[in-house]
C-alpha cells in the first residue's frame, strides 16, 4: 500500500463505526423487547405516585428489570433535586 493510500484508508474505514453504533442500538432495542409488557404502565403509575410528593421530571426516573439466573430484579432509580 502506498504512502497516500494510508491517509485515504483512514478516512474511509467507517465499517467499524457502523458496527459499534449498531451493537449499542441493537442491545438497547433487545433489552426493551425483553422487558415485561406491564413495565411502561407501571413506570407511569410509579411516576404519578412520586410526583404527588416530589417534583421530578420523567428523565430523572429509571425503571428497569434485570434478569439474573433464578430471579428478576426490578430496579428503580430516582434522582431527587437538593
Amino acid at each position: 500500500m502506498g504512502f497516500f493510500d494510508q491517509f485515504r484508508k483512514q478516512n474511509k474505514e467507517t465499517a467499524n463505526v457502523a458496527k459499534d453504533r449498531l451493537q449499542i442500538i441493537v442491545a438497547h432495542a433487545r433489552a426493551e423487547r425483553e422487558q415485561p409488557d406491564y413495565l411502561p404502565k407501571m413506570q407511569h403509575e410509579i411516576m404519578q405516585v412520586i410526583r404527588k410528593y416530589v417534583d421530578v421530571s420523567q428523565d430523572k426516573v429509571k425503571v428497569q428489570v434485570d434478569k439474573n439466573e433464578d430471579c428478576s430484579v426490578l430496579e428503580l432509580n430516582i434522582v431527587l433535586d437538593k
Binding site: K9, K12, A15
Partner: protein
C-alpha cells in the same frame, strides 16, 4: 433489501431441486413478484380475489413457464389496507400445504399488515439484510417480531431463522468501508444461510424478468444456488466472501498459481 429478488431466486431454486413450490407475493398494493418472475402479463386473479372468494386458488395460481414444479400467487393492486385477514390467509396457506412442499412468502418491507401476515404463519424465516446500518437494525426488529408475535411464538415453538446477506462487496469490506459478514453475524446472531455478492446480474435479471438463480454463469446466481442447497440441508461452504486476487504480471509470466 432484495427480498423479492431473493424470494424469486429461492423459490425457483427449490423447484429446480424437484420440490413443488409456490411463491406468494404479500406486498398488497405494490405487487412486484410477477415482474421479477416475468409473468406480469399472465396475472388474472390474485391473492385478495381468492381471500374474497371471487376466484378459486387454481384460477389465481400462475404456473411458471421456465421451471417445472413452480407456481406464483400474485399480490393484489388494491389500496384496501385490510384486504388480508388472518382467517383468509390461514385458509389459503392450509389449502396450499396440501399440494406444495414449500410455500415461499415474499414479505413487503416494513411492519405493516402484509409483512405481519407473512411472518405470522412462518415455520422458517429468511431475513434478508444488506451490510448497511439501517438494514441491519430493521432486521433486528423483524427478528424481534418473529420471536414474539408469530403463531409459532404463541404456540411456544421457535421459528427457524436464517440470515441472507445481499449486495455484499468484498473489496469494500477489505477497505473497511462496509460491514463484514462476521460483523453482521455478530450483531444479529442468526445462522448464515448465504451471502449474495453485489452483481450486475441481479439488475439484468430483473430487467428481463428471469430469476437470477437461472443465470448460472453469474456469481449471484451461484450464491443463490448454494443458499438453496443449504436451506434443504446440504453442507456447502460459503463462497465469494473475499476479493478475487488478480494474477500479477510477474506471476502470469512465470505461470505460478
Amino acid at each position: 433489501m432484495g427480498k423479492t429478488t431473493s424470494s424469486a431466486a429461492i423459490g425457483t431454486g427449490l423447484a429446480l431441486r424437484g420440490h413443488k413450490t409456490v411463491i406468494i407475493d404479500f406486498d398488497i398494493g405494490l405487487r412486484n413478484l410477477d415482474l421479477i418472475m416475468g409473468c406480469e402479463r399472465r396475472v388474472v386473479y390474485d391473492f385478495v380475489n381468492v381471500i374474497r372468494e371471487e376466484a378459486n386458488l387454481n384460477q389465481a395460481l400462475i404456473k411458471d413457464k421456465r421451471t417445472e414444479n413452480l407456481f406464483i400467487l400474485p399480490a393484489s393492486q388494491t389500496r384496501d389496507k385490510d384486504a388480508l385477514t388472518y382467517e383468509g390467509v390461514e385458509h389459503i396457506l392450509e389449502e396450499l400445504k396440501k399440494d406444495f412442499e414449500f410455500i415461499v412468502c415474499d414479505s413487503p418491507a416494513g411492519i405493516e399488515t402484509g409483512a405481519v401476515m407473512a411472518m405470522y404463519f412462518a415455520d422458517e424465516a429468511i431475513v434478508t439484510t444488506n451490510p448497511e446500518v439501517s438494514s441491519v437494525r430493521d432486521s433486528d426488529r423483524i427478528l424481534g417480531i418473529l420471536q414474539s408475535k408469530s403463531r409459532a411464538a404463541e404456540e411456544g415453538r421457535t421459528i427457524k431463522e436464517h440470515l441472507l446477506l445481499t449486495r455484499y462487496c468484498p473489496t469494500r469490506v477489505e477497505n473497511g468501508e462496509m460491514l463484514s459478514v462476521q460483523d453482521v453475524e455478530d450483531i444479529l446472531a442468526v445462522p448464515l444461510l448465504g451471502v449474495i455478492p453485489e452483481s450486475q446480474a441481479v439488475l439484468k435479471a430483473s430487467n428481463t424478468g428471469v430469476p437470477v438463480i437461472l443465470d448460472e454463469e453469474s456469481i449471484a446466481g451461484q450464491a443463490y444456488l448454494d443458499a438453496v442447497g443449504r436451506l434443504i440441508g446440504d453442507d456447502i461452504p460459503h463462497r465469494f466472501l473475499s476479493v478475487e486476487k488478480k494474477k500479477g504480471f510477474f506471476k502470469r509470466l512465470v505461470g505460478a498459481n
